[in-house]
Subunit: 154 residues, 4 copies
Protein backbone atom coordinates (compact mmCIF):
# COMPACT_ATOMS: atom_id res chain seq x y z
CA UNK A 1 0.00 0.00 0.00
CA UNK A 2 1.11 3.53 -0.71
CA UNK A 3 0.32 5.33 2.57
CA UNK A 4 0.53 8.77 1.05
CA UNK A 5 -2.17 8.62 -1.58
CA UNK A 6 -5.74 7.45 -1.27
CA UNK A 7 -6.99 9.09 -4.39
CA UNK A 8 -9.78 11.01 -2.66
CA UNK A 9 -9.52 14.63 -3.77
CA UNK A 10 -9.46 17.41 -1.17
CA UNK A 11 -9.29 21.21 -1.55
CA UNK A 12 -5.51 20.89 -1.21
CA UNK A 13 -4.83 17.82 -3.34
CA UNK A 14 -5.60 14.25 -2.33
CA UNK A 15 -6.46 12.87 1.09
CA UNK A 16 -3.46 11.72 3.12
CA UNK A 17 -4.10 9.07 5.78
CA UNK A 18 -3.38 10.10 9.36
CA UNK A 19 -0.64 8.00 10.93
CA UNK A 20 0.14 7.88 14.65
CA UNK A 21 3.27 6.26 16.06
CA UNK A 22 2.39 4.65 19.39
CA UNK A 23 4.40 6.32 22.13
CA UNK A 24 6.20 4.77 25.09
CA UNK A 25 4.28 7.01 27.49
CA UNK A 26 1.03 5.67 26.02
CA UNK A 27 1.79 2.11 27.20
CA UNK A 28 0.55 0.66 30.46
CA UNK A 29 1.66 -2.19 32.71
CA UNK A 30 -0.01 -4.75 30.45
CA UNK A 31 2.69 -3.63 27.95
CA UNK A 32 0.09 -2.44 25.45
CA UNK A 33 -1.27 1.00 24.63
CA UNK A 34 -3.66 2.16 27.34
CA UNK A 35 -7.22 2.19 26.01
CA UNK A 36 -7.83 5.86 26.89
CA UNK A 37 -5.31 6.98 24.28
CA UNK A 38 -7.46 5.80 21.40
CA UNK A 39 -9.96 8.53 22.30
CA UNK A 40 -7.10 11.02 21.91
CA UNK A 41 -6.06 9.45 18.62
CA UNK A 42 -9.60 9.94 17.34
CA UNK A 43 -9.22 13.64 18.12
CA UNK A 44 -5.84 13.83 16.37
CA UNK A 45 -7.30 12.20 13.27
CA UNK A 46 -10.42 14.39 13.41
CA UNK A 47 -8.38 17.60 13.57
CA UNK A 48 -6.28 16.39 10.64
CA UNK A 49 -9.33 15.30 8.65
CA UNK A 50 -11.21 18.57 9.14
CA UNK A 51 -8.09 20.47 8.10
CA UNK A 52 -7.73 18.39 4.96
CA UNK A 53 -11.33 19.02 3.91
CA UNK A 54 -10.89 22.77 4.46
CA UNK A 55 -12.23 23.15 8.01
CA UNK A 56 -9.06 23.49 10.05
CA UNK A 57 -9.24 24.73 13.62
CA UNK A 58 -8.06 28.14 12.52
CA UNK A 59 -11.06 28.36 10.16
CA UNK A 60 -13.50 27.20 12.84
CA UNK A 61 -12.04 29.31 15.64
CA UNK A 62 -11.79 32.52 13.64
CA UNK A 63 -15.58 32.31 13.44
CA UNK A 64 -15.78 32.01 17.20
CA UNK A 65 -16.98 28.42 17.11
CA UNK A 66 -16.17 25.25 19.04
CA UNK A 67 -17.25 21.74 18.19
CA UNK A 68 -17.50 20.03 21.58
CA UNK A 69 -17.65 16.27 21.99
CA UNK A 70 -21.10 15.08 23.06
CA UNK A 71 -20.13 11.44 23.20
CA UNK A 72 -17.41 8.96 22.32
CA UNK A 73 -17.16 5.22 22.01
CA UNK A 74 -14.46 2.77 21.08
CA UNK A 75 -14.34 -0.98 20.57
CA UNK A 76 -10.94 -2.57 20.96
CA UNK A 77 -10.22 -5.47 18.62
CA UNK A 78 -6.50 -6.16 19.07
CA UNK A 79 -3.73 -4.46 21.02
CA UNK A 80 -1.46 -1.76 19.72
CA UNK A 81 2.06 -1.92 21.12
CA UNK A 82 4.82 0.61 21.61
CA UNK A 83 6.45 1.93 18.44
CA UNK A 84 3.81 0.53 16.10
CA UNK A 85 2.29 2.82 13.51
CA UNK A 86 -1.46 2.96 13.24
CA UNK A 87 -3.59 4.60 10.58
CA UNK A 88 -6.70 6.32 11.90
CA UNK A 89 -9.43 6.78 9.31
CA UNK A 90 -12.30 9.17 10.06
CA UNK A 91 -15.59 9.34 8.22
CA UNK A 92 -18.55 11.61 8.77
CA UNK A 93 -21.29 9.09 9.45
CA UNK A 94 -24.06 11.59 10.14
CA UNK A 95 -24.53 15.33 9.76
CA UNK A 96 -27.66 17.43 9.79
CA UNK A 97 -26.28 20.93 10.29
CA UNK A 98 -26.69 20.76 14.06
CA UNK A 99 -25.21 17.44 15.07
CA UNK A 100 -22.44 15.35 13.53
CA UNK A 101 -21.18 11.83 14.10
CA UNK A 102 -17.68 10.88 12.99
CA UNK A 103 -16.67 7.23 12.80
CA UNK A 104 -13.08 5.99 13.09
CA UNK A 105 -11.20 2.87 12.15
CA UNK A 106 -7.75 2.26 13.64
CA UNK A 107 -5.60 -0.02 11.48
CA UNK A 108 -2.11 -1.37 11.92
CA UNK A 109 -0.12 0.59 9.35
CA UNK A 110 1.87 -2.45 8.22
CA UNK A 111 -0.74 -5.18 8.11
CA UNK A 112 -3.90 -3.03 7.87
CA UNK A 113 -5.37 -5.30 10.57
CA UNK A 114 -8.23 -3.60 12.44
CA UNK A 115 -7.10 -2.56 15.92
CA UNK A 116 -10.17 -0.61 17.00
CA UNK A 117 -13.20 1.26 15.76
CA UNK A 118 -15.31 3.95 17.31
CA UNK A 119 -17.10 7.22 16.91
CA UNK A 120 -17.49 10.70 18.34
CA UNK A 121 -20.59 12.88 18.39
CA UNK A 122 -20.44 16.65 18.11
CA UNK A 123 -22.46 19.80 17.96
CA UNK A 124 -21.40 23.34 17.18
CA UNK A 125 -21.39 26.16 19.72
CA UNK A 126 -20.13 29.69 20.11
CA UNK A 127 -17.17 30.20 22.44
CA UNK A 128 -19.66 30.98 25.22
CA UNK A 129 -21.22 27.55 24.57
CA UNK A 130 -24.42 28.68 22.81
CA UNK A 131 -25.54 26.11 20.18
CA UNK A 132 -25.55 27.17 16.53
CA UNK A 133 -27.08 25.77 13.38
CA UNK A 134 -24.44 25.66 10.64
CA UNK A 135 -27.17 25.48 8.00
CA UNK A 136 -28.61 28.77 9.18
CA UNK A 137 -25.51 30.72 10.12
CA UNK A 138 -22.45 29.18 8.51
CA UNK A 139 -23.59 27.88 5.15
CA UNK A 140 -20.14 27.20 3.69
CA UNK A 141 -19.19 25.03 6.66
CA UNK A 142 -22.54 23.29 6.36
CA UNK A 143 -22.00 22.55 2.69
CA UNK A 144 -18.46 21.29 3.21
CA UNK A 145 -19.46 18.89 5.97
CA UNK A 146 -22.49 17.72 3.99
CA UNK A 147 -20.34 17.05 0.92
CA UNK A 148 -18.04 14.78 2.98
CA UNK A 149 -20.80 12.97 4.85
CA UNK A 150 -20.65 9.28 4.06
CA UNK A 151 -17.50 9.63 1.97
CA UNK A 152 -14.82 6.99 2.56
CA UNK A 153 -11.39 8.58 2.42
CA UNK A 154 -9.73 5.16 2.50
CA UNK B 1 -25.60 14.40 51.47
CA UNK B 2 -23.03 12.56 53.54
CA UNK B 3 -20.43 11.61 50.92
CA UNK B 4 -18.84 8.98 53.11
CA UNK B 5 -21.72 6.62 53.70
CA UNK B 6 -24.10 5.12 51.19
CA UNK B 7 -25.33 2.35 53.40
CA UNK B 8 -24.47 -0.42 50.92
CA UNK B 9 -22.53 -3.07 52.83
CA UNK B 10 -19.19 -4.33 51.49
CA UNK B 11 -16.77 -6.97 52.82
CA UNK B 12 -14.93 -4.11 54.58
CA UNK B 13 -17.83 -2.04 55.87
CA UNK B 14 -20.04 0.20 53.76
CA UNK B 15 -19.48 1.43 50.22
CA UNK B 16 -17.64 4.74 49.99
CA UNK B 17 -18.28 6.82 46.86
CA UNK B 18 -15.25 7.45 44.67
CA UNK B 19 -14.43 11.15 44.41
CA UNK B 20 -12.06 12.68 41.84
CA UNK B 21 -10.83 16.25 42.06
CA UNK B 22 -10.49 17.61 38.50
CA UNK B 23 -6.87 18.46 37.87
CA UNK B 24 -5.37 21.48 36.13
CA UNK B 25 -3.49 19.23 33.70
CA UNK B 26 -6.81 17.62 32.75
CA UNK B 27 -8.17 20.91 31.36
CA UNK B 28 -7.95 21.91 27.70
CA UNK B 29 -8.06 25.21 25.83
CA UNK B 30 -11.86 25.34 26.08
CA UNK B 31 -11.15 25.73 29.85
CA UNK B 32 -13.02 22.54 30.67
CA UNK B 33 -11.84 19.01 31.42
CA UNK B 34 -10.77 17.28 28.22
CA UNK B 35 -13.23 14.55 27.32
CA UNK B 36 -10.60 11.78 27.19
CA UNK B 37 -10.04 12.04 30.94
CA UNK B 38 -13.50 10.71 31.75
CA UNK B 39 -12.41 7.36 30.33
CA UNK B 40 -9.54 7.42 32.84
CA UNK B 41 -11.88 8.40 35.65
CA UNK B 42 -14.03 5.37 34.82
CA UNK B 43 -10.93 3.25 35.33
CA UNK B 44 -10.10 4.94 38.64
CA UNK B 45 -13.62 4.34 39.89
CA UNK B 46 -13.62 0.76 38.60
CA UNK B 47 -10.39 -0.08 40.40
CA UNK B 48 -11.77 1.43 43.60
CA UNK B 49 -15.11 -0.32 43.23
CA UNK B 50 -13.57 -3.75 42.61
CA UNK B 51 -11.34 -3.27 45.62
CA UNK B 52 -14.28 -2.34 47.82
CA UNK B 53 -16.23 -5.44 46.81
CA UNK B 54 -13.20 -7.63 47.54
CA UNK B 55 -11.64 -7.93 44.07
CA UNK B 56 -8.71 -5.54 44.29
CA UNK B 57 -6.01 -5.63 41.64
CA UNK B 58 -3.74 -7.51 44.02
CA UNK B 59 -6.38 -10.26 44.29
CA UNK B 60 -6.90 -10.42 40.52
CA UNK B 61 -3.21 -10.22 39.62
CA UNK B 62 -2.02 -12.79 42.15
CA UNK B 63 -4.16 -15.22 40.16
CA UNK B 64 -2.40 -14.22 36.98
CA UNK B 65 -5.45 -12.52 35.49
CA UNK B 66 -6.10 -9.29 33.62
CA UNK B 67 -9.46 -7.77 32.84
CA UNK B 68 -8.85 -5.91 29.58
CA UNK B 69 -11.19 -3.28 28.24
CA UNK B 70 -13.13 -4.48 25.18
CA UNK B 71 -15.00 -1.25 24.70
CA UNK B 72 -15.81 2.08 26.29
CA UNK B 73 -18.36 4.78 25.76
CA UNK B 74 -19.17 8.08 27.38
CA UNK B 75 -21.90 10.67 26.92
CA UNK B 76 -21.08 14.15 28.09
CA UNK B 77 -23.95 16.09 29.65
CA UNK B 78 -22.33 19.17 31.18
CA UNK B 79 -18.73 20.32 31.58
CA UNK B 80 -16.51 19.61 34.52
CA UNK B 81 -14.09 22.42 35.33
CA UNK B 82 -10.76 22.62 37.10
CA UNK B 83 -10.83 21.99 40.85
CA UNK B 84 -14.36 20.64 40.90
CA UNK B 85 -15.02 17.38 42.70
CA UNK B 86 -16.94 14.70 40.86
CA UNK B 87 -18.37 11.47 42.22
CA UNK B 88 -18.03 8.52 39.86
CA UNK B 89 -20.51 5.73 40.53
CA UNK B 90 -19.91 2.33 38.93
CA UNK B 91 -22.45 -0.44 38.62
CA UNK B 92 -22.09 -3.88 37.10
CA UNK B 93 -24.76 -3.79 34.43
CA UNK B 94 -24.08 -7.22 32.96
CA UNK B 95 -22.01 -10.24 33.93
CA UNK B 96 -22.14 -13.80 32.70
CA UNK B 97 -18.84 -15.21 33.93
CA UNK B 98 -17.07 -14.43 30.66
CA UNK B 99 -18.00 -10.85 29.86
CA UNK B 100 -18.87 -7.93 32.09
CA UNK B 101 -20.29 -4.47 31.46
CA UNK B 102 -19.81 -1.74 34.05
CA UNK B 103 -21.85 1.45 33.83
CA UNK B 104 -20.76 4.77 35.29
CA UNK B 105 -22.42 8.00 36.31
CA UNK B 106 -20.31 11.08 36.89
CA UNK B 107 -21.97 13.59 39.23
CA UNK B 108 -20.89 16.97 40.49
CA UNK B 109 -20.02 16.31 44.13
CA UNK B 110 -21.69 19.47 45.36
CA UNK B 111 -24.88 19.62 43.32
CA UNK B 112 -25.13 15.93 42.31
CA UNK B 113 -25.90 17.21 38.78
CA UNK B 114 -25.12 14.59 36.14
CA UNK B 115 -21.95 15.46 34.24
CA UNK B 116 -21.57 12.32 32.17
CA UNK B 117 -22.51 8.68 31.94
CA UNK B 118 -20.89 5.77 30.21
CA UNK B 119 -19.79 2.17 30.35
CA UNK B 120 -16.88 -0.17 29.85
CA UNK B 121 -16.93 -3.76 28.62
CA UNK B 122 -14.49 -6.37 29.87
CA UNK B 123 -13.46 -9.96 29.65
CA UNK B 124 -11.00 -11.92 31.73
CA UNK B 125 -7.70 -13.27 30.42
CA UNK B 126 -4.50 -14.78 31.69
CA UNK B 127 -1.41 -12.59 31.60
CA UNK B 128 -0.58 -14.10 28.22
CA UNK B 129 -4.01 -12.90 27.02
CA UNK B 130 -5.83 -16.28 26.92
CA UNK B 131 -9.55 -15.87 27.77
CA UNK B 132 -10.84 -17.53 30.91
CA UNK B 133 -14.29 -18.36 32.24
CA UNK B 134 -14.57 -17.20 35.84
CA UNK B 135 -17.51 -19.54 36.41
CA UNK B 136 -15.36 -22.52 35.48
CA UNK B 137 -12.00 -21.56 36.92
CA UNK B 138 -12.40 -18.83 39.54
CA UNK B 139 -15.70 -19.54 41.24
CA UNK B 140 -15.26 -17.12 44.14
CA UNK B 141 -14.59 -14.22 41.76
CA UNK B 142 -17.59 -15.32 39.72
CA UNK B 143 -19.84 -15.35 42.75
CA UNK B 144 -18.65 -11.98 43.99
CA UNK B 145 -19.22 -10.28 40.64
CA UNK B 146 -22.61 -11.98 40.26
CA UNK B 147 -23.67 -10.82 43.71
CA UNK B 148 -22.92 -7.19 42.79
CA UNK B 149 -24.46 -7.31 39.33
CA UNK B 150 -27.30 -4.82 39.12
CA UNK B 151 -26.65 -3.47 42.61
CA UNK B 152 -26.75 0.30 42.97
CA UNK B 153 -24.07 1.46 45.37
CA UNK B 154 -25.49 4.96 45.41
CA UNK C 1 2.44 8.49 61.35
CA UNK C 2 -0.85 10.31 61.42
CA UNK C 3 -1.25 11.36 57.78
CA UNK C 4 -3.89 13.92 58.57
CA UNK C 5 -2.09 16.21 60.96
CA UNK C 6 1.31 17.80 60.63
CA UNK C 7 0.81 20.43 63.23
CA UNK C 8 1.66 23.32 60.88
CA UNK C 9 -1.09 25.93 61.23
CA UNK C 10 -2.84 27.27 58.11
CA UNK C 11 -5.59 29.88 57.71
CA UNK C 12 -8.06 27.00 57.77
CA UNK C 13 -6.64 24.83 60.53
CA UNK C 14 -3.55 22.66 60.24
CA UNK C 15 -1.70 21.59 57.12
CA UNK C 16 -2.93 18.30 55.62
CA UNK C 17 -0.41 16.33 53.52
CA UNK C 18 -1.35 15.83 49.88
CA UNK C 19 -1.77 12.17 48.99
CA UNK C 20 -1.94 10.79 45.44
CA UNK C 21 -2.97 7.22 44.66
CA UNK C 22 -0.96 6.01 41.67
CA UNK C 23 -3.34 5.24 38.82
CA UNK C 24 -3.33 2.32 36.41
CA UNK C 25 -3.27 4.70 33.44
CA UNK C 26 -0.12 6.29 34.89
CA UNK C 27 1.85 3.04 34.54
CA UNK C 28 4.04 2.20 31.55
CA UNK C 29 5.36 -1.03 30.06
CA UNK C 30 8.13 -1.22 32.66
CA UNK C 31 5.19 -1.76 35.07
CA UNK C 32 6.06 1.37 37.04
CA UNK C 33 4.61 4.88 37.01
CA UNK C 34 5.80 6.77 33.93
CA UNK C 35 8.24 9.48 34.93
CA UNK C 36 6.25 12.29 33.26
CA UNK C 37 3.44 11.89 35.78
CA UNK C 38 5.57 13.13 38.67
CA UNK C 39 5.58 16.55 37.02
CA UNK C 40 1.78 16.42 37.11
CA UNK C 41 1.81 15.31 40.74
CA UNK C 42 3.94 18.33 41.60
CA UNK C 43 1.20 20.48 40.09
CA UNK C 44 -1.53 18.67 42.05
CA UNK C 45 0.38 19.17 45.28
CA UNK C 46 1.16 22.80 44.43
CA UNK C 47 -2.52 23.61 43.79
CA UNK C 48 -3.46 21.95 47.08
CA UNK C 49 -0.67 23.68 48.99
CA UNK C 50 -1.52 27.14 47.67
CA UNK C 51 -5.15 26.55 48.55
CA UNK C 52 -4.26 25.51 52.08
CA UNK C 53 -2.17 28.62 52.65
CA UNK C 54 -5.01 30.82 51.39
CA UNK C 55 -4.01 31.29 47.74
CA UNK C 56 -6.37 28.93 45.94
CA UNK C 57 -6.76 29.18 42.19
CA UNK C 58 -10.05 31.00 42.65
CA UNK C 59 -8.23 33.69 44.65
CA UNK C 60 -5.44 34.00 42.08
CA UNK C 61 -7.72 33.89 39.04
CA UNK C 62 -10.27 36.37 40.33
CA UNK C 63 -7.39 38.85 40.27
CA UNK C 64 -6.71 37.99 36.65
CA UNK C 65 -3.39 36.31 37.37
CA UNK C 66 -1.65 33.15 36.21
CA UNK C 67 1.47 31.61 37.69
CA UNK C 68 3.11 29.90 34.71
CA UNK C 69 5.83 27.29 35.07
CA UNK C 70 9.23 28.61 33.99
CA UNK C 71 11.04 25.37 34.70
CA UNK C 72 10.69 21.96 36.30
CA UNK C 73 13.04 19.24 37.39
CA UNK C 74 12.68 15.85 39.02
CA UNK C 75 15.13 13.27 40.30
CA UNK C 76 13.79 9.74 40.53
CA UNK C 77 15.05 7.71 43.48
CA UNK C 78 12.87 4.60 43.50
CA UNK C 79 9.86 3.49 41.47
CA UNK C 80 6.25 4.09 42.35
CA UNK C 81 3.92 1.28 41.32
CA UNK C 82 0.23 1.07 40.54
CA UNK C 83 -2.12 1.53 43.49
CA UNK C 84 0.55 2.83 45.84
CA UNK C 85 -0.13 6.01 47.79
CA UNK C 86 2.48 8.74 47.70
CA UNK C 87 2.68 11.89 49.80
CA UNK C 88 3.87 14.94 47.89
CA UNK C 89 5.31 17.66 50.11
CA UNK C 90 5.81 21.14 48.62
CA UNK C 91 7.93 23.88 50.11
CA UNK C 92 8.56 27.41 48.85
CA UNK C 93 12.33 27.38 48.49
CA UNK C 94 12.68 30.87 47.06
CA UNK C 95 10.41 33.88 46.61
CA UNK C 96 11.25 37.49 45.90
CA UNK C 97 7.90 38.89 44.79
CA UNK C 98 8.63 38.26 41.12
CA UNK C 99 9.91 34.71 40.95
CA UNK C 100 9.21 31.68 43.09
CA UNK C 101 10.76 28.23 43.38
CA UNK C 102 8.78 25.40 44.96
CA UNK C 103 10.53 22.19 45.97
CA UNK C 104 8.81 18.82 46.26
CA UNK C 105 9.50 15.54 47.97
CA UNK C 106 7.54 12.46 46.93
CA UNK C 107 7.37 9.84 49.68
CA UNK C 108 5.79 6.44 49.84
CA UNK C 109 2.80 6.96 52.11
CA UNK C 110 3.36 3.71 53.99
CA UNK C 111 7.11 3.60 54.44
CA UNK C 112 7.90 7.33 53.99
CA UNK C 113 10.74 6.17 51.70
CA UNK C 114 11.81 8.93 49.30
CA UNK C 115 10.57 8.18 45.77
CA UNK C 116 11.56 11.41 44.05
CA UNK C 117 12.36 15.04 44.62
CA UNK C 118 12.19 18.05 42.38
CA UNK C 119 11.20 21.64 41.94
CA UNK C 120 9.21 24.04 39.80
CA UNK C 121 9.98 27.68 39.04
CA UNK C 122 7.27 30.27 38.55
CA UNK C 123 6.56 33.88 37.88
CA UNK C 124 3.29 35.79 37.98
CA UNK C 125 1.56 37.22 34.93
CA UNK C 126 -1.74 38.74 33.93
CA UNK C 127 -4.03 36.58 31.81
CA UNK C 128 -2.52 38.25 28.72
CA UNK C 129 0.89 37.06 29.93
CA UNK C 130 2.30 40.41 31.14
CA UNK C 131 4.64 39.94 34.15
CA UNK C 132 3.61 41.45 37.47
CA UNK C 133 5.40 42.17 40.72
CA UNK C 134 3.35 40.84 43.63
CA UNK C 135 5.20 43.15 46.02
CA UNK C 136 4.10 46.17 44.06
CA UNK C 137 0.59 45.22 43.00
CA UNK C 138 -0.71 42.37 45.15
CA UNK C 139 0.74 42.96 48.58
CA UNK C 140 -1.41 40.42 50.45
CA UNK C 141 -0.36 37.62 48.06
CA UNK C 142 3.22 38.79 48.45
CA UNK C 143 3.04 38.65 52.22
CA UNK C 144 1.39 35.25 52.28
CA UNK C 145 3.99 33.68 49.99
CA UNK C 146 6.82 35.34 51.91
CA UNK C 147 5.47 34.04 55.21
CA UNK C 148 5.52 30.47 53.88
CA UNK C 149 8.92 30.70 52.20
CA UNK C 150 11.28 28.18 53.75
CA UNK C 151 8.58 26.69 55.97
CA UNK C 152 8.49 22.90 56.18
CA UNK C 153 4.91 21.69 56.26
CA UNK C 154 6.04 18.15 57.07
CA UNK D 1 15.09 25.27 6.02
CA UNK D 2 14.82 21.79 4.62
CA UNK D 3 13.41 19.85 7.57
CA UNK D 4 14.31 16.50 6.13
CA UNK D 5 18.06 16.74 5.82
CA UNK D 6 20.60 17.87 8.38
CA UNK D 7 23.59 16.34 6.71
CA UNK D 8 24.64 14.32 9.78
CA UNK D 9 25.22 10.73 8.61
CA UNK D 10 23.54 7.86 10.46
CA UNK D 11 23.72 4.08 9.92
CA UNK D 12 20.59 4.45 7.76
CA UNK D 13 21.38 7.61 5.83
CA UNK D 14 21.26 11.11 7.25
CA UNK D 15 19.72 12.34 10.48
CA UNK D 16 16.08 13.45 10.17
CA UNK D 17 14.84 15.98 12.75
CA UNK D 18 12.02 14.81 14.99
CA UNK D 19 8.87 16.87 14.56
CA UNK D 20 5.90 16.86 16.92
CA UNK D 21 2.57 18.47 16.08
CA UNK D 22 1.10 19.94 19.28
CA UNK D 23 -2.18 18.18 20.04
CA UNK D 24 -5.46 19.63 21.24
CA UNK D 25 -5.48 17.26 24.22
CA UNK D 26 -2.07 18.62 25.21
CA UNK D 27 -3.44 22.12 25.78
CA UNK D 28 -4.58 23.44 29.13
CA UNK D 29 -6.92 26.20 30.29
CA UNK D 30 -4.23 28.83 29.71
CA UNK D 31 -4.72 27.85 26.01
CA UNK D 32 -1.10 26.72 25.71
CA UNK D 33 0.51 23.29 25.79
CA UNK D 34 0.67 22.01 29.35
CA UNK D 35 4.26 21.96 30.59
CA UNK D 36 4.22 18.27 31.52
CA UNK D 37 3.96 17.29 27.85
CA UNK D 38 7.43 18.55 27.04
CA UNK D 39 8.83 15.76 29.21
CA UNK D 40 6.90 13.33 27.01
CA UNK D 41 8.17 15.03 23.86
CA UNK D 42 11.72 14.57 25.12
CA UNK D 43 10.99 10.84 25.31
CA UNK D 44 9.51 10.77 21.81
CA UNK D 45 12.57 12.50 20.42
CA UNK D 46 14.92 10.27 22.44
CA UNK D 47 13.30 7.08 21.12
CA UNK D 48 13.54 8.43 17.57
CA UNK D 49 17.13 9.56 18.02
CA UNK D 50 18.32 6.25 19.47
CA UNK D 51 16.61 4.43 16.61
CA UNK D 52 18.30 6.65 14.04
CA UNK D 53 21.75 6.01 15.51
CA UNK D 54 21.13 2.26 15.49
CA UNK D 55 19.91 1.70 19.06
CA UNK D 56 16.17 1.32 18.60
CA UNK D 57 14.06 -0.06 21.41
CA UNK D 58 13.93 -3.42 19.68
CA UNK D 59 17.74 -3.57 19.76
CA UNK D 60 17.89 -2.56 23.42
CA UNK D 61 15.03 -4.77 24.56
CA UNK D 62 16.18 -7.89 22.74
CA UNK D 63 19.24 -7.71 25.00
CA UNK D 64 16.98 -7.56 28.04
CA UNK D 65 17.89 -3.97 28.87
CA UNK D 66 15.97 -0.89 29.97
CA UNK D 67 17.28 2.64 30.16
CA UNK D 68 15.29 4.20 33.00
CA UNK D 69 15.07 7.92 33.57
CA UNK D 70 17.03 9.03 36.64
CA UNK D 71 16.15 12.68 36.26
CA UNK D 72 14.56 15.23 33.96
CA UNK D 73 14.52 18.98 33.72
CA UNK D 74 12.98 21.50 31.38
CA UNK D 75 13.16 25.26 31.07
CA UNK D 76 10.26 26.90 29.27
CA UNK D 77 11.15 29.91 27.12
CA UNK D 78 8.00 30.62 25.12
CA UNK D 79 4.65 28.89 24.81
CA UNK D 80 3.76 26.26 22.24
CA UNK D 81 0.16 26.43 21.09
CA UNK D 82 -2.26 23.91 19.60
CA UNK D 83 -1.47 22.74 16.07
CA UNK D 84 2.02 24.20 16.01
CA UNK D 85 4.89 22.00 14.87
CA UNK D 86 7.96 21.80 17.06
CA UNK D 87 11.33 20.25 16.28
CA UNK D 88 12.90 18.43 19.22
CA UNK D 89 16.69 18.05 18.93
CA UNK D 90 18.43 15.59 21.26
CA UNK D 91 22.16 15.46 21.93
CA UNK D 92 24.12 13.12 24.15
CA UNK D 93 25.77 15.57 26.52
CA UNK D 94 27.51 13.03 28.72
CA UNK D 95 28.16 9.28 28.57
CA UNK D 96 30.60 7.15 30.50
CA UNK D 97 29.28 3.65 29.86
CA UNK D 98 27.18 3.66 33.03
CA UNK D 99 25.34 6.95 33.00
CA UNK D 100 24.14 9.14 30.14
CA UNK D 101 22.73 12.66 29.92
CA UNK D 102 20.74 13.70 26.87
CA UNK D 103 20.01 17.36 26.23
CA UNK D 104 17.05 18.63 24.21
CA UNK D 105 16.14 21.80 22.43
CA UNK D 106 12.52 22.40 21.39
CA UNK D 107 12.23 24.80 18.46
CA UNK D 108 9.25 26.17 16.63
CA UNK D 109 9.36 24.36 13.29
CA UNK D 110 8.51 27.47 11.29
CA UNK D 111 10.54 30.17 12.98
CA UNK D 112 13.17 27.98 14.71
CA UNK D 113 12.55 30.11 17.82
CA UNK D 114 13.58 28.30 21.01
CA UNK D 115 10.52 27.14 22.94
CA UNK D 116 12.23 25.11 25.65
CA UNK D 117 15.37 23.25 26.54
CA UNK D 118 16.06 20.47 28.97
CA UNK D 119 17.74 17.19 29.67
CA UNK D 120 17.18 13.65 30.88
CA UNK D 121 19.59 11.43 32.82
CA UNK D 122 19.71 7.68 32.34
CA UNK D 123 21.43 4.52 33.39
CA UNK D 124 21.15 1.03 31.96
CA UNK D 125 19.57 -1.89 33.80
CA UNK D 126 18.44 -5.41 33.13
CA UNK D 127 14.69 -6.00 33.01
CA UNK D 128 14.84 -6.91 36.71
CA UNK D 129 16.38 -3.49 37.35
CA UNK D 130 20.01 -4.55 37.98
CA UNK D 131 22.49 -1.89 36.78
CA UNK D 132 24.84 -2.82 33.94
CA UNK D 133 28.02 -1.30 32.55
CA UNK D 134 27.73 -1.06 28.78
CA UNK D 135 31.51 -0.79 28.47
CA UNK D 136 31.92 -4.13 30.17
CA UNK D 137 28.96 -6.08 28.84
CA UNK D 138 27.59 -4.45 25.71
CA UNK D 139 30.60 -3.04 23.92
CA UNK D 140 28.85 -2.25 20.62
CA UNK D 141 26.17 -0.19 22.39
CA UNK D 142 28.94 1.51 24.36
CA UNK D 143 30.84 2.41 21.22
CA UNK D 144 27.77 3.69 19.42
CA UNK D 145 26.72 5.96 22.28
CA UNK D 146 30.30 7.17 22.73
CA UNK D 147 30.59 7.99 19.02
CA UNK D 148 27.46 10.20 19.24
CA UNK D 149 28.37 11.89 22.50
CA UNK D 150 28.69 15.62 21.95
CA UNK D 151 27.60 15.39 18.31
CA UNK D 152 25.12 18.03 17.17
CA UNK D 153 22.58 16.50 14.81
CA UNK D 154 21.22 19.92 13.91
Amino acid sequence: MDNNITGVKTPNGVFKPYIHLAKYYETDKMAVIHHSNYIRWFEEARVDYLEQIGLGFDVIEERGLYSPVLGVSCEYKSSVRFNENVIIIPKIEFFNGIKMTIGYRVLDADTLQLRASGESKHCFVTTDFKPVSLKKDYLDMYETLLRWTGVDVM
